[in-house]
């Protein structure tokens, strides 16, 4: 636990313990742990002298933050208007069926988190799916299986 404290404290110090740096600090913690652990938020609250409720207030407002542990891979299906009119929602539903979770949730084995986004700004090649940092262009429900396979396989290789 000591090293954990140390890590979070060093992330806070990186931003010179400033109240206005709350969002960048939460970002760094999220990047480090893939979510915002409760203990870390308590530490932030104590160091910055901000009531915990105000921190949770900010953390739950922005889509980028998660209070739950997330999966190893994040599958994000774009539901921007251009992707929507080209059938993005059908692609999302297929992911939901294949992963057996609904959008915003993580599979039990913690391999995949399924998310949606309002627009990646790649409207020409929609429907777009991004897994971690890999972009998949012009997807359809038939491609869903092969996209997931790439990451399931990776897991075995490791």
């Amino acid at each position: 636990m000591k090293s954990y404290n140390f890590k979070v404290e060093s992330l806070i110090e990186k931003h010179s313990n400033q109240r206005k740096a709350l969002i960048p600090i939460l970002r760094d913690i999220q990047e480090e742990y893939n979510y915002l652990p409760q203990e870390a938020l308590i530490l932030v609250s104590e160091s910055l002298h901000i009531p915990l409720i105000d921190i949770v207030d900010v953390a739950t407002f922005y889509r980028a933050f998660s209070l739950e542990p997330r999966g190893k891979h994040t599958v994000t299906v774009c539901l921007g208007t251009a992707c929507h009119v080209r059938g993005g929602i059908k692609v999302l539903e297929e992911f939901e069926r294949k992963l057996n979770i609904t959008a915003g949730h993580t599979t039990e084995d913690k391999k995949f988190t399924l998310e949606t986004v309002n627009c990646f700004g790649c409207c020409a090649i929609g429907p777009v799916v991004v897994v971690d940092r890999d972009y998949y262009a012009q997807t359809n429900i038939r491609k869903v299986d092969s996209i997931l396979k790439n990451y399931r396989k990776k897991k075995i290789e490791q």
Binding site: V58, F61, R63, A82, A124, I125, V128
Partner: protein, 620 residues
């Protein structure tokens, strides 16, 4: 990268000559479209293959590869332009690279198979400038992307970058600059269209407590709009130069770029651009030897649409929930940390150096009486030439859709174009001859917004479109005002019921009443315009709502609960292709025999419809 700072106008000219001389030593320059969507289609592999092949052939002194930002014609990416001729090759694969080098670069031969084919004339086109998609455009802001590697400030300097800044600092007083921007008639490109010069003046004249700020709003949240991403990714220095000039005119010493985190490449390029500008002394203390200090901080958005609203954006930079607040006081009076703050959109900032260089008169000659200059639109959806198009204000909608956009794919009919994102509306085909400017769009029940144009064909259900935006808005409403928080949700419930066949008489009237209330009672732009998608679809497509409510039918064949997939006995060839994709095992059949679909198992996912090559799956 040289470490020496640029001290004055002569220094800048000297440096530019050096860069130009170096560039001139390359006989041939190849620009690879390498923005986010290019990369999604493999453009990085093309760049890599070119670098390798050029090295192998030992022609690196003669040929330069430039990985540029988005070149606009997203439909045909990855594409390249070979300068000086302007040869345009499209939809490339890494295996094409060897041939391009050996044929076109070394032997000056055009490779026919890689050329763009104009589908209308069924003719191959060699040069970029002759492609119909580009001909009607006027790419004054976005056109420079093809000459610039966004990670190298020298490329921007080579085409005259930071000339406007040096002119502004050495020759013009701040008030003169504001006057030029006022005379140009430039209006905000983020949506509302406020006069930029007027905003700057208000901010300059605001009581000065020692600090003022300028902010670049790069929180491009409108779904279906990505021109801002392409500018920040492809030509970040043009935005920075505009900001520095603006800060000098207003009297601000600190700037922020508030950029969406969903645009990682844009974040990377603008961060790099700020560092390089600092190294050259274009940001920091005593910019270009003047007594003007200014620096820029990159602030990343965390995925909240409402933060595109200026007071919410400010709250977010201050580290709080991105909730809008009452205006006045406007940010120009009381903005970031309570100081006067001028916020402009990316495209607005990118216009500033052009106006300073070429003059207010040049700019004001482009466009219409009330809307000057050009506007970049992202032309997406059911359209042949998807991409970013920059056109003079006042252009006729039909020209954008049919001449630049190349019309609607597959023999389908144009139905509507949605502009202005969730705050905008749908423009029907009866208004195809509408000139596009700020006022005409408002009159038609929509808005300019940041410039998304989503084209819809007969296969798009307008009630579903309204539902889509309401779902978006109820999700993105910050929750501060009851009218917006509950209103968008209730409107969504009603429209959702209609799409599920549970609509009843009186629903339309109730929707209209609710829409009015949400509009009147909400604090910020999000709530005040949240009704537009509903109201505009009701205005032009009321009969579609009525068909859903009275006949329980979705004329476009989109709304799941109102449609049924079935197999056309005459068209089914018994190829079995549809059987495997069906996740429910609802389709049964043997090879060369008529297949059958079990309605009780069908979940209407459309997998069979997408798979069938004989149009034998029909939606009723």
């Amino acid at each position: 990268m040289r470490k020496k700072k640029i001290h004055d106008i002569i220094d800048l000219a000297k440096l530019r000559d050096e860069i130009k001389k170096k560039n001139a030593s390359y006989k041939i320059q190849i620009a690879v479209s390498n923005g986010t969507c290019g990369q999604a289609r493999g453009s990085e592999k093309i760049v890599h293959a070119f670098r390798k092949e050029i090295e192998r052939q030992k022609i690196q002194d003669k040929v330069k590869i430039r990985a540029t930002g988005c070149q606009g014609f997203c439909e045909v990416e990855p594409n390249i332009i070979i300068f000086p001729e302007g040869t345009f090759y499209q939809k490339l694969k890494p295996k094409n690279v060897k041939e391009i080098i050996s044929q076109t670069i070394l032997n000056n031969k055009i490779i026919d198979d890689l050329l763009y084919i104009d589908p209308k004339a069924n003719k191959k086109i060699v040069y970029e400038r002759e492609i119909p998609f580009y001909i009607k455009q006027q790419r004054i802001v976005s056109g420079n992307n093809v000459y610039i590697d966004p990670t190298d400030i020298n490329d921007y300097l080579a085409i005259g970058g930071y000339d406007a800044l040096s002119k502004a600092l050495s020759e013009k007083a701040p008030e003169e600059i504001i006057e030029i921007i006022e005379n140009s008639g430039l209006r905000g490109r983020g949506g509302a269209g406020f006069l930029t010069g007027e905003k700057w003046k208000l901010c300059r004249n605001a009581t000065n407590n020692g600090f003022k700020f300028v902010i670049c709003n790069a929180d491009e949240g409108d779904p279906g709009a990505y021109m801002d991403r392409s500018l920040l990714e492809g030509n970040p220095h043009s935005v920075l130069e505009g900001m520095i000039i603006g800060a000098y005119a207003i009297g601000a010493n600190q700037g922020y770029v508030y950029v969406r985190d969903e645009y990682p490449l844009a974040v990377k390029h603008v961060t790099l651009a700020v560092e390089q500008a600092r190294e050259y002394g274009l940001l920091g203390k005593n910019i270009m030897g003047s007594d003007f200090d200014f620096d820029i901080i990159i602030s990343k958005g965390q995925g909240a649409f409402v933060c595109g609203e200026e007071t919410a954006l400010i709250a977010s930079i201050e580290g709080r929930r991105g909730e809008p607040r009452q205006r006045p006081p406007y940010p120009v009076q009381k903005g970031l940390w309570g100081r006067p703050t001028n916020i402009n959109n990316i495209e607005t900032w990118a216009n500033v150096p052009l106006i300073i260089n070429k003059g207010a008169e040049w700019f004001s000659k482009i466009g219409t009486e009330g809307s000057k200059g050009t506007k970049i639109f992202s032309l997406v959806g059911k359209i042949n030439n998807t991409g970013l198009v920059e056109v003079p204000m006042g252009i006729i909608l039909r020209e954008i859709i049919y001449e630049i956009g190349g019309g609607i794919p597959g023999e389908k009919e144009f139905k509507a174009v949605q502009t202005g994102g969730p705050s905008g509306g749908c423009i029907p085909k009866e208004l195809l001859d509408l000139p596009i400017d700020y006022e005409s769009l408002v009159k038609a029940g929509s808005i300019m917004g940041s410039g998304g144009m989503i084209v819809m064909d007969e296969g798009t259900c307008m009630v579903d479109v309204a539902k889509y935006f309401l779902n978006f808005l109820r999700d993105e409403s910050c929750g501060k005002c009851l009218s917006c928080r509950e209103g968008t949700h209730r409107m969504w419930e009603i429209v959702n019921d209609i799409t599920e066949g549970k609509g009843k008489e009186g629903d339309i009237e109730l929707l209209e009443e609710l829409a009015k209330a949400v509009k009147l009672a909400s604090l910020c732009g999000l709530g005040q315009t949240a009704s537009n998608p509903v109201l505009s679809t009701l205005r032009y497509f009321r009969e579609e709502y009525e068909a859903h409510i009275r006949d329980k039918k979705c004329p476009a064949g989109v709304c799941k609960e109102l449609i049924q997939y079935s197999i056309d006995e005459e068209k089914c060839t018994g190829c079995t292709a549809c059987i495997k994709p069906c996740p429910q095992g609802a389709i049964k059949g043997e090879l060369k025999k008529l297949h059958s679909l079990d309605q009780s198992k069908c979940i209407k996912c459309g997998a069979c419809y997408e798979t069938c090559r004989f149009n034998a799956i029909v939606i009723k």
